[in-house]
């Protein structure tokens, strides 16, 4: 089955849900409704042997309604045909996760959440991946400036300061000095 035949099969199976198809530079793109995106992608994996999810991209079409767009690139190792499936998402709406269809979607969707602020329903672990936990903005949105916005630095990444008390070689102000407390300590002559 080549890519054009796969597009035809998807149009037949999903009918109205496939809003438009484009062929540009040898690549086939299907524009689908948000509700049908996950069933369609699952169909690609199960029936069309697309076992490899290459990439998930998120776009901010600021000014247009719906605002966001998700782009899924899929291909299969048995046939090497490439399909692109796009869905438009209004601001604030959640996208059903495809991490149960392809495990690699886990990190892709975390990145889409981190950079664009798109929420994924059913994602096992939706948190920021490139920016730190608690970063307040979504950097790849078109209303975020290139130079960035000031924000608080992240908390100290790990444990607190190691306790100082009672160690033989730890010196604290006012306490007995090291040489007296620990006779084996080397003296500077």
């Amino acid at each position: 089955m080549n890519a054009a035949q796969m597009v035809t099969a998807l149009k037949e199976k999903f009918g109205e849900a496939v809003l438009s198809t484009v062929e540009f530079r040898g690549e086939h793109t299907l524009n689908v409704t948000l509700a049908s995106a996950k069933p369609l992608l699952k169909y690609c994996r199960d029936e069309l042997a697309c076992d490899y999810l290459v990439d998930i991209t998120s776009l901010d079409q600021m000014g247009q309604e719906p605002r966001f767009e998700m782009v899924y690139e899929v291909t299969g190792y048995s046939h090497h045909q490439h399909l692109r499936i796009k869905a438009q998402i209004p601001d604030g709406e959640e996208v059903p996760t495809v991490s149960d269809v392809w495990p690699t979607a886990n990190w892709h969707e975390r990145e889409a959440y981190d950079m664009m602020g798109i929420l994924f329903a059913g994602h096992p672990d939706l948190r920021r991946i490139l920016m730190w936990e608690g970063y307040p903005y979504f950097p790849l949105r078109k209303d975020f400036p290139l130079a960035g916005k000031p924000s608080d630095m992240p908390d100290v990444g790990f444990t607190g300061i190691a306790p100082m008390a009672d160690g033989p070689f730890v010196t604290s102000a006012g306490a007995v000095d090291t040489v007296t407390r620990e006779p084996r300590a080397k003296r500077v002559e």
Binding site: V54, L59, W102, P103, W107, L130
Partner: protein, 419 residues
């Protein structure tokens, strides 16, 4: 005389602890003994860049591992939305900074796919030469650093001596040892200089014995085998499901190489094999990289033997900077130069995805263009980012000392991972 028995508290603290723990077991059902949460990185010699791993360990064995990436995030995708296509080329150098020529070529090919251009034969041959040199360079580093992390420190220096020669070749070709920025959309900045072909042939004659020497030092070395065989196993289903690409995928038994599956730059003209592993462990990935280096040498020899003559850049007047002498003397060329320098090339509206077989895996560029010289969205499909996603599944069950081996065998680059 009657025997008197007295019980003394043993001064042996280990025995005391053991007795105390046993006593605790009788009183509570909680797991006796705590798990240690160990933070590895981001500044750590074995993590190959700024990777932070949060490891939960039960003694020496790791029970949970979570990679924390993003320490080298520079916002390349946001920057790309504000630059012309050609202005973004230096940023591609800094993605997989161990093989900058390969990134340059992959990006130029992606934009040329959008434009619908194809570089002429000689330009394609030069690009293949660049990609394969970059592959040898990246794998020399990958194998050398993997060996160094598991203890074979000499190998690192041997492979770096050969890499130094590649850097000299890059300097001869592009002017820079490291961040080459060699390609432009539609071609290259300059043709091969005199003596370059001879220099590459000399290098190939020297690198083959060096690869053989590395092979002799490592492949049958009991310590190296002990530290890499059977560890870090990635099954075929996991490799495909988690989006692993490159030598890591081939090490797990999937015979897939973009140079053969979706040939670009005339790769179908050259004879080469794809090494495929069978166990998916660290040792197999190491063997795949070694063999890929030999295959790259084979490809480069064929490129040099068949090197065509002719132009290296696309013959499109509107898209490329015109000849400098004509720019300084003719009005039309001057206007062209001005328009291209200030507004960038005029790309059609549309979206393309192009992926190249980079040394680390499948480096893809998704370009969404609304026309004009600046992309609306550029997404970099980074192989190292996805290769790292398998860590949280693969590492639990290994010991702490297996981590440098596993990370070295995955051979990722944080510049590419975080962009």
């Amino acid at each position: 005389m009657p025997t008197v028995t007295r019980d003394y508290d043993s001064p042996d603290t280990a025995a005391q602890t053991a007795r105390h723990l046993e006593a605790m077991e009788e009183t509570t059902t909680d797991l006796v003994g705590e798990k240690l949460v160990l933070n590895m990185g981001p500044s750590h010699p074995a993590t190959h860049g700024v990777l932070r791993m949060i490891l939960e360990m039960d003694g020496e064995v790791i029970t949970k591992a979570e990679p924390d990436v993003g320490y080298l995030h520079r916002g390349d995708e946001k920057i790309a939305e504000n630059m012309h296509y050609n202005q973004f080329v230096p940023y591609t150098d800094r993605l997989d900074y161990l093989a900058p020529l390969a990134n340059n070529v992959a990006y130029a090919l992606a934009v040329e796919k959008l434009m619908g251009w194809q570089v002429p034969e000689r330009g394609r041959a030069i690009r293949v030469l660049c990609c394969e040199l970059a592959r040898i360079s990246a794998h020399l580093l990958g194998v050398g650093v993997f060996a160094m992390d598991v203890g074979a420190m000499t190998v690192f220096l041997y492979t770096f001596t050969e890499r130094e020669k590649i850097y000299n070749l890059c300097e001869l070709l592009t002017g820079a040892r490291f961040t080459t920025s060699y390609t432009r959309v539609g071609g290259q900045t300059r043709d091969l200089p005199d003596g370059f072909v001879a220099a590459v042939r000399k290098f190939l004659d020297e690198v083959e014995p060096a690869i053989d020497e590395t092979d002799k030092l490592l492949s049958r070395n009991a310590i190296f085998i002990g530290r890499s065989q059977g560890l870090g196993v990635i099954s075929k289903e996991d490799a495909i499901g988690y989006g692993i690409t490159g030598p890591n995928l081939r090490g797990s038994g999937v015979e897939h190489d973009l140079r053969k599956a979706q040939p670009y730059l005339d790769y179908e003209k050259y004879q080469f094999d794809i090494p495929v592993g069978s166990h998916g462990d660290c040792y197999d990935r190491y063997l795949v990289r070694m063999e890929e280096m030999r295959q790259s040498v084979k490809i480069i020899r064929q490129v040099l033997d068949q090197l065509p003559g002719g132009p290296i850049n696309v013959a499109d007047a509107k898209g490329l900077l015109p000849n400098k002498e004509r720019v300084l003397m003719k009005m039309e060329e001057l206007i062209h130069h001005f328009i291209i320098s200030t507004q960038g090339i005029d790309a059609p509206a549309g979206e393309v995805y192009f992926a190249a077989e980079n040394p680390k895996g499948e480096l893809g560029f998704y370009i969404h263009s609304k026309g004009g010289g600046v992309p609306y969205r550029l997404k970099i499909r980074s192989p190292s980012f996805l290769n790292l996603s398998i860590l949280s599944k693969m590492i639990p069950g290994h010991m702490l000392s297996d981590i440098p081996s596993v990370l070295g065998s995955l051979d990722f680059v944080m510049g590419e991972c975080d962009r």
